[in-house]
Symmetry: C2
Subunit: 311 residues, 2 copies
């Protein structure tokens, strides 16, 4: 039984590897919903959808996000009307948002809707949002203006300096049903290679999650999203630096040490292993950049063995 | 200056004729919003959209509703997810609903959004919803179950008997800005050939509208949507009969006489002219079935002259 904390693309890749080496029915993915948004009346859950599409074999590997074979008829027509089209929603992707919005409006929980979508897309991993309650990541820019996460991430192309991040609603949010149990029951808890601040951060901010992880600290294995000082994708490196952390595996280890026993770092960071251990985490060095599903399966095996070795 | 009360397709056709014989800038269309619905999180205004698309030259004349060149990518993908797809929303049409939903969520009024959409689609008629407040047509079926209008109209293909109709929220609704003024200022008020019960009925149910019409009764010209006892489109004939009215131009005249001076009936109903007059309305006989824009322009001219003659 494996439980993974997941953000978007990096997490989806590792999950695809995990289900190669483990029975998917024994894998639970707890997914960040801090960057969910309501736009055009639609409830959009970007990280859940990335994991859904990837595990369901519907993702567009080349573009790196969204669905394969996507078309953009609605967005083009919306643009022609003068509508807001900076957050690109493909036609196939929109169907997911329509489905989710309709079911939520009927009173279904986000967990229930996610389970329905997973079934429809043939995803047999147990996929759960971190919470059924709204938690919204808010980013304060250097000029003091606070914006919702997607304004920062998509509209501003995360090309602006950040002075702080908070997770609105987190204090009042409950973990989704099964989240704490999945952590408590797991032989291995995997912290996927996702942005520590804005992907893993919101999950940790849900009351009870951090303590549940800390209670199983020996079994918690994190994969560093920082390789040779840089993020493979997205603004994790800059965010770490801007918020006073080191953009390195040491910086990641300092954030994760309180609740995770082991950090898997890329071979490029082998020389940093002592620094990771000085920060309080066991360090496992492995090829961590996933160019293919095969790479992901190898990394999944490394993570699994690291957890066994740690006990 | 002409003000028209409008439902969907029949109204849109006549409006297209009216703007052939009058300056569009002098035409105000007050459109039914009783059959608006929120679905998949989207605010859908079917009658407003029919008028928008028709006057904007975007309508699909062959299908009889929706946009020309429409595609169905989102609906097909939604169906594949197991979502509710009985209310068919084309990709181009969806762009309108996304636009409207986003602007409403930002606090814009339905009037303001409608004006924006009209501008974007090149519609120069002054197009206003009957109210910015929600009014929802509810239909009680013979078995006693009450359903929202679109469940009756689309999902059940209006193929079930109706025992009553009400307009939820109408009592508390205010006419949209400019509606009463447009009626008061009009040289001619046209009641378009729309369903008297569920298209014109909701407009009349908005407080103040019926009285404003009655005060200008001589200038109000209605076009009968019933021709030779039958509706050209939709369930108007059956609804009239089921709710205790005659499905004929006499039945229409009995409903409209309190606030409209003149009824235009089709040549097929020439023999019914005395019955219309007995019901208290002047009767004008003309070719009222609009097969083309040219037909619509001729009918528009008839309506205009009828109003002049009535004064």
């Amino acid at each position: 039984v494996i439980t993974a904390l997941a953000g978007g693309v990096g997490a989806a890749k590792l999950l695809r590897g995990l289900v190669r080496v483990h029975d998917p029915a024994g894998v639970t993915a707890v997914v960040n919903t801090g960057d969910d948004l309501v736009m055009h009346g639609l409830h959009i859950s970007p990280d859940l959808d990335t994991v859904l599409y990837t595990l369901g074999g519907r993702n567009d590997d080349e573009r790196g996000w969204g669905r394969r074979g996507e078309t953009w008829t609605v967005m083009e027509a919306l643009g022609a009307l003068g509508g807001e089209d900076w957050f690109r929603l493909g036609d196939l992707d929109l169907a997911t948002h329509l489905y989710r919005s309709q079911r939520l409006s009927q009173g279904a929980s986000l967990s229930a809707v996610t389970a329905e979508l997973a079934r429809a897309l043939g995803v047999d991993v147990h996929l759960v949002p971190m919470s059924d309650d709204p938690v919204r990541t808010k980013v304060t820019l250097r000029d003091g203006v606070e914006v919702p996460f997607q304004e920062y991430f998509v509209r501003l192309h995360h090309d602006v300096a950040v002075s702080s991040v908070r997770f609105e609603g987190a204090d009042a949010a409950a973990p989704a049903p099964g989240v704490l149990a999945a952590v408590a029951a797991a032989q291995t808890v995997v912290v996927c290679p996702s942005n520590p601040i804005v992907s893993i951060g919101p999950i940790l901010a849900v009351p009870g999650v951090r303590a549940a992880l800390a209670a199983r600290r020996d079994r918690v294995v994190a994969v560093s999203p920082i390789v040779a000082g840089a993020a493979l994708k997205g603004p994790a490196d800059r965010l770490l630096a801007e918020l006073g952390h080191e953009s390195s595996v040491r910086g990641v280890a300092e954030l994760y040490a309180p609740f995770a026993g082991t950090l898997v770092v890329d071979e490029a960071d082998g020389p940093m292993a002592p620094a990771v251990e000085a920060a309080g985490m066991r360090c496992v060095v492995a090829a961590s950049v996933m160019h293919s599903v095969e790479d992901a399966a190898v990394l999944a095996q490394v993570v699994t063995e690291a957890a066994l070795a740690a006990r």
